[in-house]
Amino acid sequence: MENRKGKTILIVDDEPNIVVAVEFLMEKEGYNIRKCYDGQSALASINEVVPDLILLDVMMPGMDGFEVAKKIRENQDWENLKIIFLTAKGTREDKMKGYANGGEIYLTKPFDNDNLVIAVNEAIEFG
């Protein structure tokens, strides 16, 4: 529980209403929250403040989530940044792509609130 304090989570999704829900769940767990609504601004945000974990949507206007993950993994400074994909794209190919691009966990929408929280907590604590 201790080491959750001060951990920062970046939520990236082009659907503001989903961001609202995720933000509530994460804040309740005690994380610091940053929000972005597309890939480009997400990278800019990381450049500013490197979060501990990123909850990343895939289908977004402009740069998609896979690309964002790839960019993150290309940067040595961000190697401790955990990536959890949170997306409506649920096929096996999409998941493979997600892992290949450096994601630690791949969750599909609509997600179960508890499962999301557990996954994030585990990634933060044991990742």
Partner: protein
Amino acid sequence: MHPSLLIFASIFYVAILFLVAYWAERRAKKGKSLVNNPYIYALSLAVYCTAWTYYGNVGRAATSGWGFLPIFLGPTIIAPLWMIVLKKIIIISKSQRINSIADFISSRYGKSIWLGVLATLISVFGIIPYISIQLKAIASTFDILISHSSHFNNFSHGPIYQDTALYIAIALVVFTVLFGTRHLDANERHEGLVAAIAFESVFKLVAFLTAGIFITFILHNGVGDIFEKASDLPIMEKLYDLEASGINGGTWFFLMVLSMMAIMFLPRQFHVSVVENTNSDFLKKASWLFPLYLFLINLFVLPIALSGLIQYPEGLVNPDTFVLSIPLDAGKDYLALFVALGGFSAATSMVIMAVIALSIMISNNLVLPLLIRSQTITNPYVFDVSKRLLGIRRVSIILVVLLAYGYFKSVGQGYTLVSIGLISFTAVAQFAPVILGGIFWKRGTKAGAFIGLSLGFLIWAFTLPLPTLAETGVIDDSFITNGIFGISILKPYALFGLEGFDHISHAVLWSLSLNFFGYYFGSLFSRQDPVEITQADYFVNVYKYRVSSQDFEVLRKKARISDLRNLTNRFLGEKRLETLFAVFEEKHGLKISELNIAPPELVNYIETNLAGSIGAASAKVIINSIAKEDPISLEEMFRVLEQTQEVIKYSKQLELKSAELEATTLQLKIANHKLKELDQLKAEFITTVTHELRTPITSIKSLGKILQTNPDLSETKKGEYLEIIVTESERLSRLVNQVLDLEKIQASDKDADGFEDIPFSELVRRSFLNLKQLMTDRNIRPGCRIMDAGMIIRGNYDQLTQVVVNLISNAIKFCPPVEGIIEVTLAVEGDNCVLKVSDNGVGIPPDQQEKIFEKFTQVSNQELGKPAGSGLGLFITKRIIENHKGSIEVSSRVNFGTTFKIILPLLKKESISFGEA
């Protein structure tokens, strides 16, 4: 001229003929056939030119001017048609092993024995006078040479052993027997004979041209000279005035028709052109080579005739002998001898071929059927057929020549060559209806053929040969003037009161027309038996049978192998039997010795080959004596025939189909490609739709759960979350509706039902007003300008309303929160109405302008998040517009705004009213 010189020359000439024939047969045995080419074939057709041509033409020209021509114009005119008529006859005859014209007729009409007999009788009676005039020509020319007397009729008054014609007849019999009946051939082909005939054709042409050149250019100074010298003769009048020559259009017409038939249906012509033919393609060359031959051999006819008339103005010399008398009187004995040999060759070639053709008919269509009927032939202990057949042939030859000699002695001397020749022509012309009908008209029946032929034959006999017998004193001649039995309408030269025609035209008119009508109506009022039906079908559709390479056999005859073997052995001999069986075994891959009962295929095969030797009718009877025929009903017959036709049709269609198939395969490939694309699209569609469904569900579910599990939430939060849930739920139901709409539109692609005349201006105005309040609420300044109030278009009211509302709603969505402007304009441009909806919103980047009309594309709006929408709106709009034969386009500048422009065709009411002005 000393007789021994003439005899020596004749024997020498015949010896050359023997050599040519012998050489050709040797070559044929070695497989290097001499006659297997179109030139020899065309020359053999020139057997048409007999002593009649050689001597009689000049005689005819001397008495009637141009009157000699129609007999040669007829064949020349019909030659191009050989490829249609003669080719078909050849192909039928080859596949059915037909070897005479009587056999052809008999085969076509159910292998009828009696038709074969009738056709043989017509041929024999028709041709014997013709043969006799050849004997007459040879005999009289020889007498002229020997006595050097130009008087034609004073020979043969001595005792019979001094009779030239008799010796000539005997010599011809010997030659014909030697080369015509050496063996019993399956196809009745005689290469040696054909080679000899071709040689004779060359010889007679050269001899006649030599005489012509001598008379025209040596005795006189060319054609012009002759015409000048002859200008005072009465014949000249006839040359310049056809009416004066007594030859009217009708006579020419009948003579040409006669000769057209004769060139194909004279037994000897049928024999050389069909039976001896080795390749039906030869007809192509022959159809112009043969007319060329006719042209050459007629070239000097008129000059020689005029020259004779100039030289013998008193009329003491028979014009038929001009070609011989002129050189003789000019003291050119050797030239005269050469010319006489030319005439000899013309006569002998005709006699040999005619006699062969007749002997085949007599043995196969007359004698054999009679023997078969008397049962002697089917008894193996009484009759060894294979040896006897040749004997029958030989006897027939002798008989025919003797009959011709007898006719010559009793009747023939009183008539010119031409008049007797035409009597024969008229006889064989009787074959025309049954043969031509037989190969082009399936309905022609045995009974019809019999009635037609009999009528024609009777009329012919009554109107032509009978009066000649009377006029020469053989029978009482009172019936010629009084009519037979004193009945005045039965006068042979004025039958049924028809007068004003010459004898030949009169006879042709009556015999051929009654023959034709007898055949036609006889066929219409009689039925065909099963054999007739198969044969008729084969003859008429022979090309189809060949195309489908179908075995031609419908009757299922079975026989014991031992019977079949015995029978074949007796008729064809041991050697042919073994060859035939071996060929059959090879083809069908079975051992005949292992069989007890011969299959129908084998029985038919033997029958066809037997037919080649003894004629179709005889072969049928003989085979039937040992074969059991599975009973076959007429109905079954028709069924089998129909199936055959079907198969033939099918095989023809197959070719067509395979081409079609290739095309179809290509189309299928294209279609398959499209389907795959569609499939891909569908998969993408489903993925996209599910994604779009998941998004609102995600928020609803997650926030719902939050509300459920966090009862201590602040009221503001609760309110906020609940509102999101409601919004997303709305989004969700909108999406579902739109998917349903999409489905509707795609279905309505198929028909334009539900279309009506729509007052479009009214529709736009109403839609705009409906949304006006919403725009004002969002601080948007709405503008609507409708330039023309009466716009009518044809379309679906609801769909078009949806389009307009959708476009305005889009504009509202993209308008900036403050100072938004929306401008709707509607105007007529040409035949279209144009609707523009403009906003001053964020605009669409150029690279996305194309994509916005695709499904689920939305323009990103990074700052504001996305406006609510499914991404289906513009796609649906586009589909609807296209459904109305209109178009939609977008123009936009980022940060300045977007304009959507819809073009729809106007209903052209105005153009009608303007049409009057």
